[in-house]
Symmetry: C2
Subunit: 246 residues, 2 copies
């Protein structure tokens, strides 16, 4: 079974253009979007920005310093620790995603969040949250955020619990594609921001199997892969893989 590789330090934080349009926190996050009366609760958005280099932890499982984070730029992964010391990646996060909500249950994070590259996130500490959520609109928003995350995780558990290797990798590519399309980018051409090892860990496969499966898709002319660059030629072919059990 693939293990998560040793984390690396990056040379420096990366300069970035950061927008707030597609952010999952939406009105929960920063001043501009908030009802006027709530402006005073918030420091300037920039004060709450956090920059991380590749391999740095946003938080670790067990941390009681809670809060919800919105990814502004860059990419992260969420890893849950196993009893044998390994870690399993249960989610990837890109621009606009919310991270850290699993801490709302126990009051401590149950997973690590690790930057995959230079990235920037927005934080709202829980204390601010509590006050904010007295406002019904924000409360509904957070509930939806949590509900979506829960449904996503249920679907992921079903994928790794029942599908074949080809189906898992196809699902992964289709989800990446849909995610980029949702953010306004091409659904046919994108760059994988994680290693084969990370993909394997996420999907419950070895990195060799991930690599082989991508090569197989390419040999069928369904996709073209060159390193982390992916070009999907035949979305329907990948989808039809999922329609027949086995």
């Amino acid at each position: 079974m693939a293990s998560i590789r040793t984390q690396k330090r990056d040379k420096a934080a990366v300069p970035m253009q950061v927008t707030c349009g597609p952010c999952a926190l939406g009105t929960l996050c920063h001043a501009e979007g908030l009802p006027f009366a709530f402006h005073s609760l918030f420091p300037l958005a920039d004060e709450k920005r956090i920059r991380l280099g590749a391999g740095e932890f946003l938080f670790r499982a067990g941390d009681t310093q809670m809060g919800i984070y919105a990814v502004k730029a860059g990419f992260l992964k969420s890893c849950v620790p196993l009893t044998d010391g390994r870690r399993n990646i249960v989610a990837f996060h890109a621009m606009g995603d919310a991270v850290g909500m699993d801490a709302l249950g126990r009051g401590a994070h149950s997973s690590d969040a690790v930057a995959l590259n230079g990235c920037e996130v927005c934080l709202i500490p829980l204390a601010k949250f509590e006050k904010l959520l007295e406002h019904p609109a924000e409360s509904v928003h957070l509930r939806q955020l949590l509900g979506r995350e829960l449904a996503r995780m249920e679907a992921h558990a079903a994928v790794v619990g029942t599908l074949s290797a080809k189906q898992r990798v196809a699902t992964f590519l289709l989800n990446m594609s849909a995610g980029w399309e949702m953010r306004g980018y091409s659904k046919h051409a994108f760059v994988l921001f994680m290693s084969r090892d990370d993909i394997g860990n996420f999907l419950g496969l070895t990195f060799e199997t991930v690599s082989r499966t991508l090569s197989y898709f390419q040999s069928n002319n369904w996709i073209a892969v060159k390193g982390k660059n992916v070009l999907i030629h035949d979305l329907k072919a990948l989808q039809s893989l999922l329609e027949h059990s086995g």
Copy 2:
């Protein structure tokens, strides 16, 4: 891969003693626990009780009739539909659990909830919810409920994504044990309320593998199994299975 068997009708709803002590909805649920001012929002608890026979659906994936349900008696399973028509069990629910929160994201349920035997649940429709949650204490409570569920699902995804068959079954038994202990029952002796097929589907294994693994545990004198009755002789042995990778 195991599929969920055809649902059966049961002869009748089962007479039950129903208590509200350990219920996950807690103050969110019924009149007794609520702040006095909120009593008027609620009909009598009994009006909101729902009885189900074995195999009956509490709700189905796609239902827009939302609400949160608390299990008062009996057992249910949550199943997410796969693209190939199969369903995968992602959770079991017993007395005191909250069910249906994955609907808070999209406004529609993303999984089925099916009764495993005669059971009884309490409903709060979303509309009531919305009003209730304007009260900070209830809002925090729901947030914790959702956060716990999310963390639980992350852990489950990690289990089915990385562990061996023996480790998955051991984890399952340990979780059952802990669940019963938490509810005030024995952690060493309990009755499995689902079939081998359901366990396999939940763990991403075939029912044959589940059966074989239980037999193996028994042959090591770690447990005794007779049908659905389980007696755990050696919790530590099961736990130590999880400490060594592979």
